[in-house]
Each structure stands twice: as structure tokens, then as C-alpha cells.
Symmetry: C2
Subunit: 485 residues, 2 copies
């Protein structure tokens, strides 16, 4: 596979260090991966080592799916221009997207990224409601743009963040395992309703303070927040309160949309057919890696936006290539019945993970739907104290076993699995088998205690584990010895 490299890995790293902003982080920082090709659910490094990809929800229908590659390549050779000209790919894409949404979500805006989609969603909401304030969930992440950092506690409450703007209201994340209201503390209670009441209170407080709600925005299943499965009755109630307060409801489906949850195309649909947002944003999986995303809204909101008189022009948004690719992704999902597949494989994976939980005390919770799965690690099942260092160590060890998984949640203790949708039963079994072994290792010899304020701890919090730094230093010494000999 040497021919797939243009330079040795060391040179790639040196050039990256010199010419790419260091704010752009690598996975496995202590020993990053150089990936040169990928196929289906597998990625290959420069030495042709094959990694099972359990995290790349962007490569939705499988890395380099031939239908998607063909659609993109053919269109690239034919025409790639902006949407000020009529093109069939654009209208076919918009028709497909609208067809996958419940009524009255039927008007689309094509953009290049989930971030662009969420920014536009906010513009639509403001144009429609004439209000400004936004309700967001704790630990939410909605994108890398200035306005989205403003509504992302995952960013503004962390290093480099400048805290919550006045016009942003943060509702608790509806996490029934380690959130404000826990299942154990409120047995047999409607926690969805209980968490929704928090939004109701925010609306009430805002009104008392003379503020007006523009929008409520939430991922239908919170991802960075820790693979959270929204409890039943949450959105139904939240949407009611937000609308009563004059706001609109935005469902961020950028990470979880396009059938990942199996039984529905969109994760908000898991909450019932009557739960319909006013604006939906979609992205990542839509282009299987190609930059394409969209906002889908109601004719009424689109009309309010048009009535402002301001044109919306997005240079690449909805170009014939992006749309050819998005259309191919949707076609593959349907043709290969990947939603059903996600349900079957996801259920198998969840069952296996739950069996693992009976064996390993570190596993506090296993949750998921379709191929959106979280395994929450805790030091103690009673207190549910997050096992952060353990989670990071496991990620590094899994990589050594050629499995790519990652963690999320405010304490980075939730192992997340959101693989390409072509992930198989055998892949699920393999991941669980290796995870079993690694958990046994960790339980036999837990990682050294780490001071929560130490630089090591900060590295851990960045999610780029260096548990094997010592090992690497030894390797480097060995290399030196070899090169000297």
C-alpha cells in the first residue's frame, strides 16, 4: 500500500504541525493514525492494517460506496455549478428530503455543512418569530460557527469559551441515567415530562424578564452530550411549551438522521407521529463524506424568510454534484434496506453489550437505538461516578486491537458506537469480544489514579488519550538504539 502515500508518516506529521492550525486535533494524539483508504466499515492505514470503524457516522452507507462514488464522479465530469440555474438533481433531492419528512415540512435549503444548516435554521427562526432568545440543552453541540458556539454549552462552558450569552437559555439535558432527574430517584415517573417542565419554566422566566423565545434547538438524540436517548414525552411537551411562548422548534438531525435509528428516518420520529418540529437540520451522513447538508422547514416559515426580502445565496449549496451524491445516499439506504439492517444489527449489539454489563462492573448503562449506541462506564454503579480515565484507556487499547471507537458525554466516559450503516452482526460480535477482553484487563489493573487538575487529566479531557505515551517513549528509545546500531 506504499503507493497510496505521498510521503512517510513522519513527514506528514511534521508538515501538519507546521501548516495546520493546532486547534485541529488528531485522534489518538500520542500515536495518530494515517489512513490511506477505506471501504465499507473498514479503514486501512499506510501499512495496510485494517481497522473496524465504529465511529464514522459520516461514511453512512459505508466508506466509498460504489453507487455514491459513481454518482459523484459522473456528475463531477458533467456539471458542477450553483443553484441560480435550474437543475434536476437539486429538485429531486429536495423532493426526496421532503418526502422523508412528515407534513408540513416540505421546503428545503441546501447548504454545505451541519454548521451552515444550524446557522440558517436560526436565521429562519428569527425571521419567522421576530424574537431572539434561544433555548438549548446542557452539553449540546450544534457546530463550529460563532453563532453556534453561542448556543453550545459543550463549547461555551469549556476552555476558550466565553460563557453563556444573555439571549441563550440552557435547559438540562434529558439524561435519565446521570442527569438532573435520574431513573433511580424517580421510579415510575414520566421523566420526559419532568425534563420538559424545565423548558416550561425557562419560558415562564423569560416572559417574566421581558424576553421573547425565538427557538428551542436540540439534537433529537444528544450525541456529544453522551449518546443520550431522549425519554418519551419529552419533545411532545417541550414543543408545546415553546410554541406557546412564541418560539419555533428546531430538530438537529445532523448526527442522528438518515435512518441511523433504524425504525425511523429521523430520530425525532421516535417520540411519536404527532411530534413534528418546525425546522429540521440534516448533514453529516447526507453526503457520505461529501460536504452537503440541508434545512427543511414549513412553507409558512420559508415564506416569512422570503418576505424579509433578503436573498439567500450559498455558492455551493445544492450544486448538482452534492445533490447527485445525496440522492445516491438516499437510494442506497432504500435499496439495501439499511434502516432494517441498522435495527437488526443495533439490537444485536445492544443485547451483547447488555450481556457484557452483567459481567463487567465498569459498565453502568447500555443504551441505544439502531446503530446509535452508548456504553456508559462508571467507577461505581451506586454513585454513577464517571470512569473517565478507564474509558480513555479502553479507546486506546481498542485501537491497538484495530477497532476505532470513541467516547463522549461531559465526562467523556460514554463509549460511543455509531458505525457506518453496513456494520454487520459479526462486526458487533467482534467489537464486544474485544471490549470484553479489554474491560477484563482494565478491571484487573485499573489505570493509575489521575489528579483531576493535572495536565494529564486535561489531555484526557481533550479525548486524545496518552495512556500509551510511556510505551511510545520506550519505542522511540528502541528506535534510537536500532538506528545507532
Amino acid at each position: 500500500m506504499d503507493s497510496l502515500e505521498q510521503m512517510p508518516k513522519g513527514d506528514t506529521m511534521r508538515l501538519r504541525k507546521r501548516h495546520i492550525g493546532e486547534s485541529c486535533k488528531l485522534f489518538y494524539r500520542a500515536d495518530p493514525l494515517k489512513i490511506v483508504r477505506a471501504e465499507g466499515q473498514y479503514m486501512f492505514d499506510e501499512k495496510n492494517n485494517r481497522y473496524l470503524d465504529c465511529i464514522n457516522n459520516v461514511a453512512h452507507v459505508g466508506h466509498c460506496h460504489p453507487d455514491v462514488v459513481k454518482a459523484g464522479s459522473d456528475q463531477l465530469a458533467l456539471l458542477n455549478t450553483n443553484n441560480r440555474f435550474l437543475h434536476d438533481n437539486l429538485v429531486v433531492c429536495a423532493k426526496k428530503l421532503s418526502g422523508l419528512m412528515p407534513e408540513p415540512l416540505s421546503v428545503c435549503f441546501l447548504v454545505n455543512s451541519g454548521s451552515e444548516a444550524n446557522d440558517l435554521a436560526m436565521r429562519l427562526a428569527r425571521a419567522h418569530t421576530k424574537n431572539h432568545d434561544v433555548i438549548t440543552l446542557d452539553h449540546a453541540y450544534h457546530g463550529h460557527l460563532t453563532t453556534l458556539i453561542d448556543i453550545s454549552p459543550y463549547k461555551f462552558n469549556h476552555p476558550g469559551g466565553s460563557g453563556k450569552p444573555e439571549w441563550v437559555h440552557v435547559a438540562p439535558c434529558p439524561d435519565v441515567y446521570r442527569g438532573k432527574f435520574r431513573d433511580v430517584d424517580y421510579p415510575n415517573q414520566d421523566l420526559g415530562k419532568k425534563y420538559a417542565d424545565e423548558v416550561k419554566n425557562i419560558c415562564k422566566k423569560a416572559r417574566e424578564d421581558g424576553r421573547s423565545i425565538c427557538a428551542f434547538i436540540a439534537e433529537s438524540l444528544q450525541s456529544c452530550g453522551g449518546q443520550i436517548i431522549t425519554p418519551p414525552n419529552y419533545f411532545r411537551n417541550v414543543y408545546k411549551y415553546v410554541r406557546e411562548a412564541g418560539g419555533v422548534c428546531i430538530a438537529d438531525e445532523v448526527q442522528v438522521g438518515f435512518g441511523r435509528v433504524g425504525k425511523a428516518w429521523w430520530a425525532f420520529q421516535l417520540q411519536g407521529d404527532d411530534v413534528i418540529p418546525d425546522i429540521v437540520t440534516v448533514g453529516k451522513p447526507m453526503g457520505n463524506g461529501y460536504p452537503v447538508a440541508a434545512v427543511i422547514t414549513t412553507p409558512e416559515i420559508a415564506r416569512s424568510f422570503r418576505n424579509t426580502g433578503m436573498e439567500y445565496f450559498n455558492t455551493y449549496g445544492g450544486n448538482p454534484v452534492s445533490c447527485a451524491i445525496a440522492n445516491a445516499v438516499i437510494d442506497v439506504l432504500e435499496k439495501e434496506k439499511l434502516r432494517d439492517h441498522a435495527t437488526r444489527v443495533g439490537n444485536h449489539l445492544l443485547n451483547l453489550a447488555r450481556q457484557l454489563a452483567t459481567k463487567h462492573i465498569l459498565i453502568g448503562d447500555v443504551r441505544g437505538v439502531g446503530l446509535f449506541v452508548g456504553i456508559e462506564l462508571v467507577k461505581d454503579r451506586e454513585s454513577r461516578t464517571p470512569a473517565t480515565a478507564e474509558a480513555q484507556h479502553i479507546i486506546t487499547r481498542m485501537k491497538e486491537e484495530f477497532i476505532l471507537i470513541s467516547s463522549d458525554g461531559p465526562d467523556r466516559n460514554v463509549l460511543k458506537l455509531k458505525p457506518p450503516m453496513v456494520f454487520t452482526h459479526e462486526d458487533a460480535e467482534h467489537v464486544i469480544k474485544i471490549l470484553d477482553e479489554v474491560l477484563t484487563e482494565v478491571e484487573d489493573e485499573p489505570p493509575r489514579k489521575i489528579n483531576t487538575n493535572s495536565p494529564e487529566r486535561r489531555k484526557l479531557e481533550d479525548g486524545y488519550m496518552s495512556c500509551n505515551e510511556k510505551k511510545i517513549r520506550i519505542d522511540d528509545q528502541q528506535k534510537e538504539i536500532i538506528s545507532k546500531s
Copy 2:
């Protein structure tokens, strides 16, 4: 060419009206074009009519350039993942970009659009200076995101805009033909310096008001502002004043970069080797239509951003496919010596346009550099009153002659030419020949006077001319007669 359509044009239009937000405008709204393929400087409609493309600066090295198509297609089939893995395409792209910039601009951030680039540039500037206020130019357009509309008078001063935010300061556009300081009024004066003094005054006033300047942002040649050629000594002085005030200088090269100006890679370089911005944003031409853009800055500013501790992650930014395409575009520019070509063809076009100006009183000014050319139409050369309706009529007539040109500037009276860089001498001659004929027509029979507040006027201002609406209505009646017969 029927096989390139998935449905008749009427159906495309109906689906578009139903499923695409109406804020997304079409060119030639009264009779939009359906383009199904393109090659070099030509676009073809569904009836295989060939149009000469004089406006598509995104299809930089020519529509569907085979090298770019091949680079994109090959990489699409091999790997398309995010930049948390090492990849040679990314570092090669960053090295190429850095190599094309003057020192110390050597650190890159890869993103998906010029808008994302400008938003990130603002974030970098804020992290570095810790200030918030931004100086922008009148009539500037920097992108479609919320934060960029805030710094775009072209948007915030127009329908749907909410006016200038408090933290934004607007300096006059350095337009020496119809701007605040005109060449005729200040003969033999350094107008670059004179316009720069306006920025100096803004900095002074801000300080007096207790405000701190974060950044000055400007296109190196203002595009939407009306194909403005920045007068000499402007940026040299502005950059000095802005830096003295504690701000950084951002050059927006999204429209005009990548050799369009011929003699330099970047338009800011036209102002002298000593004129070096702190942050440069690039986009549109970079991907020849593929969504890729970048921010290039100094190690110092990148370090300030890193030191905030906030990670910057852009899902598709710098993926192997975008970078393969960007690298191919740069290679083609070099291999085919397109910068030299742009200088030669651009000079020829300018000369021909200047000859045309001696014949047609409507032409008030001809300006340009390389393949960035503006022909400003005026009703009267003395008062320089903009000939808006005439410009719009000409655009429509040129389309009927299979030439795509457009207009810009606050009064939409500047015909703009910014064709793919493969535009030839013969293309230039053809455009001027047809423009000559159309100008003669208009001068013989000027378009009817239009009330400046009428709906017609508004349509004109949207830039989607309806001069042939009457003709179309007749056509529709004829169709009806035919279909009834």
C-alpha cells in the same frame, strides 16, 4: 441532450417552487436557464444551446476540468474521511497554500465555504486581539452566515437587513469612480491614502468611544461593491492604522484569489510586496465548484487560537477529496500558466472594452485587472448617474445572445466579467462584439423609464431582470393558442 434531463423544464420549475425556499433566487427569473452540462468556459442548456460563461468565477480552471474531475473521482473511490486522521492530501494542500502566500502566512485551517472561512477568520481575530469591533467597507459582502451579514452592508442595509450592529464600523468603499472621493474631484491626489484616512478616523473615534478594534476585513478587490479596483496605497495605510489600533487585518480573497488578477496569486499583492494581511480567506475558485475553502494565518495568531484551549473541528474541512481537488486546481493553474493567460486575455478584454467606451456614451468607466473586469454604465458621464435599468436590460439581451454576464455594485449598473480562467482572446472579442450591438440597440431605444419605487424597480434591484416579461406573456398566449388548436 434529452438524456441529461430527468424531467421537462416545466416540472423542474414546479418542483423548485414547491420544495426550495423562495429566498434562493434564480438568474433570469422571468425565464431561468436549465443548465445540464458544462465544459471549459461554456454551459449548455437542456436544448444543447451553448452559453459563453463570463461570470462563473467558481469554475476557475474551466468547468469540469479533466484533471480536477479525475483527482476528485479517484480520491472519492479511495477515502473520504475527516482530518482527525493524518492524510497526505491535507498537508500537501496546506503546504501549497502556505507556499503561495508571503511570510509569515503559513498556518491553514481547511473549511467548506468562503462563509465558513470568514466566520473562522473573525474567531481567530477575536482570540488573538481579545477585542470585538470590526471595520468593514461599505457595500461589502462577506457571506451568508449570521455573523457575516452583521459585517456586510450589502446585506444589513438592504431589505431584510436589521442595520449596522454597534460593534461594526463602516468605512467608505475605496471607489474612485463613484465613491466618496472621486478621481475628478481630487486630481493628482493619493486617493488610496485619502480613503485610508477614513479608516484612521474610525479607529480614532472608536478609541474615543472606549471601543477596541478587533479586525479590519475587506475583499482585496471589492466584488459585490461593483468590481472595485482598490487604489494604490490603500491597504498599506489601512493596515498600519488598524494595527496601531490593536486590530488585525483580514484579506477576503474568496472571490478574487487564486490568480484571477493574473500578475499575482492574491489580489492584496497588487498593493505591494510589503502589504501583508494577518489573515487571508480563500474559497470559491479553490475547488472549481467543490465545497472547499481555507483560512491562512500567521503562526502567532494560530497559537493564540490554540491557546484558548478550544478545539476546532470541521467535519468535512480538509477531507482527502476536497484537498485532492484543491491540489489539482493549483496544479492546473501552474501547468497551464493560467495566471499569465489571465493577464493577456484580461488586458485584451480591457482594451476592447475601452475602445467600446469611445463609441458608447453609456459606458462611464472600464476597470479591471486580469480576468476581473467591470464596465460601469452611466446615464450621464458628468454626473455619473447609474444606468441601472440599462444594465439589467443588457444582461437579459446578452443572455438571448447566449452570453452570461451579470451586474453588481450598489446600483447594479456595473457589468461584471469574471469568467473561468480558460476564457480566450476570441471569447473576449465575441463578448465585446455582441455588447457593442446590444449597447447600440439600447442607445437607439432606451428601456422605458422606471419609477424607482415601483415593483418593477424592485425586481431590477434583485438583479433578475424581467425586461422580456411582456415577450414571455405573448409566448404563453401563443402556446395556449397552439395547444387549443
